[in-house]
């Protein structure tokens, strides 16, 4: 493998971008994560043919369509289970799971905790915007108590989940949190998670400018 790798040309960010038009809302935090990922994979010397993105359902889960790698945009909440099957059948692949707070923690909570406790070799990126974006603005399992959203006009009454402590509780072997607009921190975190053999959970605080703008702006003056 190493002999052939040295003969392969160095790929650039563009080599990891598919021909599909990116359709997230203007200003969405997902753009920054996509750009960071494409550059990061090129810098790491990753190969598109052995890289796979598996996503569930939600805004973030459109991610695989924009990557010129193998990918699957699957069904709501099931990406960790689908990725587990792929990882068991093909341990040679480099597999990323792209998911959101509703996808990973609500409908797919069971699959997420079991992928972590089994320590399947997956890099799981959880885009946390504390809201349901694709279904247009209902509160999510990470929305703070009192969130006024379409389904909670009088404010939500239930306690949110903390993705990181949930991951620790599930005995995940790598847990990190980063944020969409700090490119360096984001890239460094991706690199550490990617280098980890086993299940790595990265919670990415991600701004939804349409339904939950500024959820993570407190204290930084932006």
């Amino acid at each position: 493998m190493s002999a052939t790798e040295t003969e392969l040309p160095q790929l650039s960010r563009k080599d990891f971008a598919s021909d599909q038009e990116v359709r997230w809302c203007p200003g969405c935090g997902d753009y920054a994560i996509l750009a960071a990922m494409q550059s990061f994979l090129a810098d790491q010397g990753a190969r598109p043919e052995s890289t796979v993105f598996i996503s569930g359902i939600g805004c973030s889960s459109r991610f695989p369509y924009y990557m010129n790698t193998y990918g699957m945009h699957t069904i709501h909440g099931r990406a960790p289970a689908i990725a587990t099957g792929l990882a068991v059948a093909r341990p040679d692949l480099d597999i990323f799971v792209i998911t959101g707070d509703g996808d990973a923690l609500s409908i797919g909570g069971n699959h997420l905790i079991h992928a972590m406790r089994r320590n399947v070799n997956l890099t799981i990126l959880l885009f946390n915007n504390e809201i349901y974006g694709l279904t247009k603005g209902q509160y999510s399992p990470t929305s703070p108590v009192g969130t006024v959203a379409k389904s909670t006009p009088y404010g939500s009454i239930d306690e949110p989940l903390n993705p990181s402590t949930l991951a620790l509780g599930a005995e995940a072997s790598f847990v990190a949190r980063t944020i969409d607009r700090d490119r360096n921190h984001l890239t460094e975190t991706l690199a550490a998670a990617h280098a980890h053999k086993g299940a790595a959970l990265v919670e990415i605080l991600q701004n939804c400018p349409v339904f939950n703008d500024g959820a993570f702006s407190a204290g930084d003056g932006s």
Binding site: S18, Q20, R47, P48, E49, S50, V52, I54, P64, Y65, M67, N68, T69, Y70, G71, M72, H73, T74, I75, R78, A81, I82, A83, T84, G85, L86, A87, V88, A89, R90, D92, L93, N110, H111, H114
Partner: protein, 627 residues
């Protein structure tokens, strides 16, 4: 060990049916299985019917806790575990209460007299002791003190403390087995050998069980209670390596054979559920054949994991029973939409909801055919016997791989747990098939993952790791240009829906046409069945013809698409009867296709049909005045 000399008359039988019945803790499944193996070694053809409660240990002595094992063994080719037992072994009053109604008139009844205490009689709902009130006098009754004789025989073990009383008492099933084995001139060798292996670490149990077994045999030989011994000579079977195989084992082996012949790795993702778990147990032992098993966190994950494994190029399989199939529907839809080959095995049990976990039923045909959102056609097969489960699993894998589609294989609780001797095929005689993984772009512009084969409409299968063929799949509707890109265009969606149906329909082009069993071609009644009803229907047809009736038989193994000729066959007979263990799911489907007034025979009592009931229904239909 030499065969016991006996002065008694030996009666030769062509076939015999025995049912062992007792409390869940009495070891009846084991006793039945051991007698089955003795019969297989003696060269009989055979078929078995285990029937046990869902509770692991239901309250002792109750009707709910009765567990039974029936087998028919024969000197000829047989297709069913027998209608009515010739011999019933009842270890307690509850077992007698539950199973006496099915014992053949004048049949042999062996009873553990010690278990007929007033407490047990009460639990079973007897007002009077049937051993004393004369109600059993029409049977060849042998009330034997099975428990106390066993305890007496094992006194040396209990006295010196090698066994406690409970352990000694548990050997009473071996006493019963020894007695019945003697009745049917069976050697005890295979069972003794099995006991030596089973309890290798506890020699005192080996010794005690063998003692109980031999005591049972000697009891039969020395008491004058038994007038006859019986002999069922070996069946004339084709030479070959025979194995006693259950349906669940056969499914596992068929899948391994398919993966092997296709040069693929087998991935099996599943969640424990009765009566499908034995497939997981069997496959998890077969790592040496490149099998990877994954016990998922739930049914949804089990199905989802197969979709992921299929994306990676594996022969991906899951199995479940009704409740699990209901949960898998969403991810089956994803496999359908992404056109990835997976096999889903549904070992049907009584439904709906949790239903009857350990009882057989054929009521998942509708969910197999239609149980997903949207227009969602997938091929559906149904195994027709325990050994056919091997070939059906192989066929399901072939259809899935060649056509890039999920395939649902219907089994049922009866097929899963029933066993029969099977002449294992030479693997080299199984038709190989080729996954034909894509290796290079299929257009000058690049790789189009949905560019279909003109004949089969199957799409190319490119697996990760293949350079230049990177692509994205998903559950959203895609355009008809082959790219897999999302399309919300209304007319495109219509076109894609039609194409997905057409792809499944065209599989029939490559199947042999249906074969109808109608030797003279002039039958007045066509009997139609699917899956596991094959055995009872074949036996019924045999008897109906012996009675002088002209009947034909058509058994469906491919349910979607149907083989060519099914509709024509149904339209070609004056009368058609469809028998199934549901309330008419195939009957309705065939009626809708053919507009023929097909009659149905439907029963869902947790047990397979008997040949006798099918003969009765068919005879009624044949003799009724045509209006």
């Amino acid at each position: 060990m030499s065969t016991t000399e006996t002065p008694r008359e030996t009666v030769r039988l062509d076939a015999a049916t025995i049912r062992f019945a007792g409390d869940s803790g009495d070891g009846m499944q084991l006793t039945g299985t051991r007698f089955t193996n003795e019969s297989a070694v003696a060269g009989n053809d055979l078929a078995t019917l285990p029937d046990y409660p869902a509770e692991i240990r239901a309250p002792a002595g109750t009707l709910a806790g009765v567990s039974s094992f029936q087998l028919q063994f024969a000197a000829e080719d047989i297709h069913t575990p027998g209608d009515e037992p010739d011999v019933l072994v009842a270890m307690n009053p509850a077992a007698l209460k539950k199973h006496l109604p099915s014992l053949r008139a004048t049949g042999t009844l062996i009873i553990d007299e010690d278990a007929f205490t007033s407490r047990n009689l009460n639990k079973a709902g007897f007002d009077e002791n049937p051993l004393e009130d004369g109600s059993l006098e029409d049977y060849d009754l042998h009330a034997v003190q099975l428990t106390s004789l066993t305890l007496k025989a094992l006194e040396e073990f209990t006295e010196d403390g090698r066994l406690n009383r409970k352990e000694a008492e548990r050997a009473k099933n071996m006493f019963a087995l020894g007695l019945v084995s003697w009745m049917f001139s069976r050697s005890l060798d295979t069972t003794e050998k099995w006991l030596q292996e089973k309890f290798a670490k506890r020699p005192e149990l080996v010794e005690a069980n063998i003692k109980a077994l031999r005591t049972g045999r000697n009891f039969g030989d020395t008491t004058e209670s038994f007038k006859y011994v019986y002999e069922v000579p070996p069946a004339e079977l084709e030479a070959g390596t025979y194995r006693n195989v259950s349906g669940n084992q056969a499914v596992a082996w068929g899948l391994v054979a398919a993966a092997n012949r296709a040069g693929m790795d087998l991935f099996y993702g599943s969640y424990p559920i009765t009566p499908a778990s034995d497939i997981l147990h069997e496959l998890s032992r077969l790592k040496r054949f490149g099998v990877r098993t994954f016990q998922a966190e739930d049914e949804i994950a089990a199905m989802s994991s197969t979709v992921g494994a299929a994306f990676g190029g594996a022969l991906a399989v899951t199995a479940s029973s009704g409740p699990g199939i209901a949960l898998k529907g969403e991810a089956i839809g994803l496999a359908l939409m992404t056109e990835l080959p997976v096999v889903i095995v549904d070992v049907q049990r009584g439904g709906p909801s949790t239903g009857l976990p350990t009882k057989t039923e054929q009521s998942d045909l509708n969910i197999a055919m239609y149980g997903r959102n949207g227009e969602s056609p997938i091929p559906v097969l149904a195994a027709t016997s325990p050994s056919d489960a091997f070939f059906s699993a192989y066929e399901a894998a072939r259809i899935a791989v060649e056509n890039r589609t999920p395939v649902l294989l219907l089994m049922d609780g009866y097929l899963a747990n029933s066993s029969e001797p099977w002449n294992m095929p030479d693997p080299d005689t199984l038709n190989p098939f080729d996954p034909q993984y894509a290796a290079e772009p299929n257009t000058p512009e690049g790789f189009l993952p949905y560019l279909r084969d003109g004949e089969t409409l199957a799409r190319p299968w490119a697996v990760p790791g293949t350079s230049g063929l990177e692509h994205r799949l998903g559950g959203l509707e895609k355009d008809g240009l082959g790219s897999g890109n999302i399309s919300y265009d209304p007319s495109n969606h219509h076109e894609m829906t039609v194409v997905r149906q057409e792809k499944v329909d065209r599989i029939a082009d490559r199947l042999d046409p249906i074969e109808v069993d109608d030797p003279d071609g002039d039958a007045e009644l066509l009997l139609v069945g699917w899956g596991s009803t094959d055995g009872p229907l074949r036996s019924a047809v045999h008897r109906l013809r012996e009675d002088g009736h002209k009947v034909a038989h058509m058994q469906l193994r491919h349910l979607s698409p149907l083989r060519r000729g099914v509709d024509e066959a149904i339209k070609g007979y004056p009368k058609v009867l469809c028998a199934e263990n549901n309330l008419g799911q195939l009957t309705r489907l065939l009626r809708a296709r053919t507009l023929v007034d097909i009659q149905g025979h439907h029963r869902v009592t947790g047990l397979p049909f008997t040949a006798a009931e099918l003969v009765e229904v068919a005879t009624d239909l044949l003799t009724e005045e045509s209006s």
